[in-house]
């Protein structure tokens, strides 16, 4: 049998639930038998039971649920959990994080200052209140000198696993090393649609794209990136602008998205936060290097490294 036919026959058997039958009913090649067995095991995995009550309670306690049920105000938007960017006490590669707002308060203990820009909410957290250190990380994170890290109570700089590989992220329970993150980033990049000129940016974006007219010396606009779905459909709501630089230690990335309930986000920092103006619009500068504001229905975030705050503001103000 041709490979193609064999694959289709296997897919058919799987679809018809043959893998759920007793193996004695199977009359397949050894390879297909193994895969049918795997299919049976995969279909038999049920992760849901221990979470049922929690999920139901979450849905029912959501702010909108009661109102939805009572009034059937189906058009009212759901409060999609806004993500919050937060700088925690640890520095270096782990300095900025995003969490849900309610958790941020629980984790950071005290909000010192909150700035509401509409679809962007920024909070400054008390740096003296340390977030709890996860039990699961104990014994797995080390500092540069190989000392085990057991709390967030001091600035850590870079962190490493037991094998000395730098940890830069984590996913669920899994700590992500630098090389693993690079691989993930590569895969993300492969899914992005890179666009060069203004005409093409306008073609895909669901908002008017304005590029900064001013860039510090040595920087040039390289390209814009749109996220695409698995089927290759471009999502015009979000756009990332990438710049190249001759200057070592300096970089600029600008994130833009249409301003709506879905794209709304919250940011927080335990570092420095101040309210500034960008072309008359309220904006938030964080740690002298990141600037967020909303103008003409578009949310902007400029993330930089190695630039003076005045330069960051100048770039923002040149977006007109």
């Amino acid at each position: 049998m041709k490979t193609k036919d064999k694959i289709q026959e296997f897919a058919r058997d799987l679809d018809e639930g043959l893998h759920l039958e007793h193996p004695s009913c199977w009359n397949e090649s050894a390879e297909s038998l193994e895969l049918l067995e795997l299919g049976k095991a995969l279909a038999g995995q049920d992760f849901s039971n221990s979470h049922r009550a929690a999920v139901l309670s979450k849905v029912q306690s959501s702010a909108n649920f009661k109102q939805e049920v009572t009034n059937m105000k189906m058009k009212s938007s759901l409060r999609r959990p806004a993500m919050i960017l937060a700088s925690i006490l640890i520095a270096g590669g782990l300095s900025i994080s995003f969490v849900k707002p309610s958790f941020a308060e629980e984790l950071f203990g005290r909000v010192l200052q909150k700035i509401n820009l509409g679809n962007i909410i920024a909070s400054e957290m008390d740096p003296n209140v340390a977030p709890p250190f996860p039990e699961e990380w104990k014994g797995k994170l080390f500092d540069k000198e190989g000392n085990v890290i057991t709390s967030f109570t001091k600035k850590l700089g870079e962190v490493y696993n037991a094998d000395g590989e730098q940890i830069v992220n984590f996913d669920g329970d899994k700590l992500i090393t630098k090389s693993e993150q690079e691989q993930r980033d590569k895969e993300t990049a492969e899914r992005m649609l890179a666009v060069k000129g203004q005409a093409e940016l306008d073609k895909y974006a669901l908002f008017k794209v304005k590029l900064p007219e001013y860039l510090p010396e040595g920087f040039v606009f390289d390209h814009g990136g749109f996220y695409t779905s698995e089927e290759g459909v471009v999502n015009g709501k979000y756009l990332t602008l990438f710049f190249t630089s001759k200057n070592e230690g300096q970089d600029i990335t600008i994130y833009l998205c249409i301003s709506d309930k879905e794209t709304a986000y919250e940011i927080s920092t335990s570092g420095k936060m101040e309210k500034v103006k960008v072309n008359g619009f309220d904006a938030v500068m964080m740690n002298n290097r990141s600037l967020d504001w909303e103008a003409d229905g578009v949310l902007y975030n400029i993330a930089t490294h190695g630039l003076e705050p005045s330069e960051v503001l100048k770039i923002a103000e040149s977006i007109r």
């Binding site: 289709q8 095991a41 995995q45 189906m74 958790f103 039990e135 669920g172 698995e230």
Partner: protein
């Protein structure tokens, strides 16, 4: 199947009315939740490695479903295809928002420290699914979605094709390829 039939009759009695009785809506929600909860949860659990994230995303799916219920039209798509399209979008949004900030996702800290599960239970769950999680990580996003739709959501290849815009035979090919990858990563299925 009885529950699904009950669901269909609700479309005509409840959804089409502008303001159906509260009891009806409540009952409709309960029916949908009871009918689809496990499949939605398992779908999200196949797509994200962390069970608590799956829990959050599942609740978002049902919230979103409820808010969009008025716009559902049985003529356009079967209910479960519509519902799993919502689930797929919720998970995609989750990954997109993470991608936007390639930083340290502290929400996972909450998941780790939440204490919603006794440590020994957490450990058991980790042992049971760790190998599968690792194996799922080697799949591409597209492959993982197809595996999740097949084994988590328990959808037919035809429904998966409709949901993803791929041909049915392409779904079969991706499924076969993904399962071969999983098999070689997992080894014996007894390990699952």
């Amino acid at each position: 199947m009885q529950e699904r039939a009950l669901l269909q009759s609700f479309w005509h009695k409840s959804i089409k009315e502008e303001r159906p009785a509260e009891a009806n809506t409540d009952r409709l929600f309960t029916t949908i939740f009871e009918t689809y909860y496990s499949r939605i949860f398992n779908y999200t659990a196949y797509r994200v490695s962390c069970r608590y994230t799956a829990e959050d995303l599942t609740s978002q799916v049902f919230e979103k479903m409820l808010s969009k219920l008025h716009s559902y039209s049985p003529e356009k798509a079967p209910f479960e295809v519509w519902l799993f399209a919502i689930a797929r979008n919720v998970v995609n949004d989750y990954y997109r928002s993470r991608r936007r900030y390639l930083f340290f996702p502290l929400e996972a800290v909450r998941e780790l420290v939440s204490g919603r599960q006794a440590p020994e239970e957490h450990l058991l769950e980790g042992e049971r699914s760790g190998r599968l999680n690792l194996a799922l990580d080697i799949l591409t996003a597209k492959e993982r979605n197809i595996v999740a739709l097949k084994f988590g959501a328990d959808l037919k290849n035809k429904e998966i094709a409709r949901l993803t815009g791929m041909s049915e035979s392409n779904v079969g090919v991706i499924l076969y390829r993904s399962m071969k990858k999983l098999k070689s990563e997992i080894g014996s299925v007894d390990q699952l």
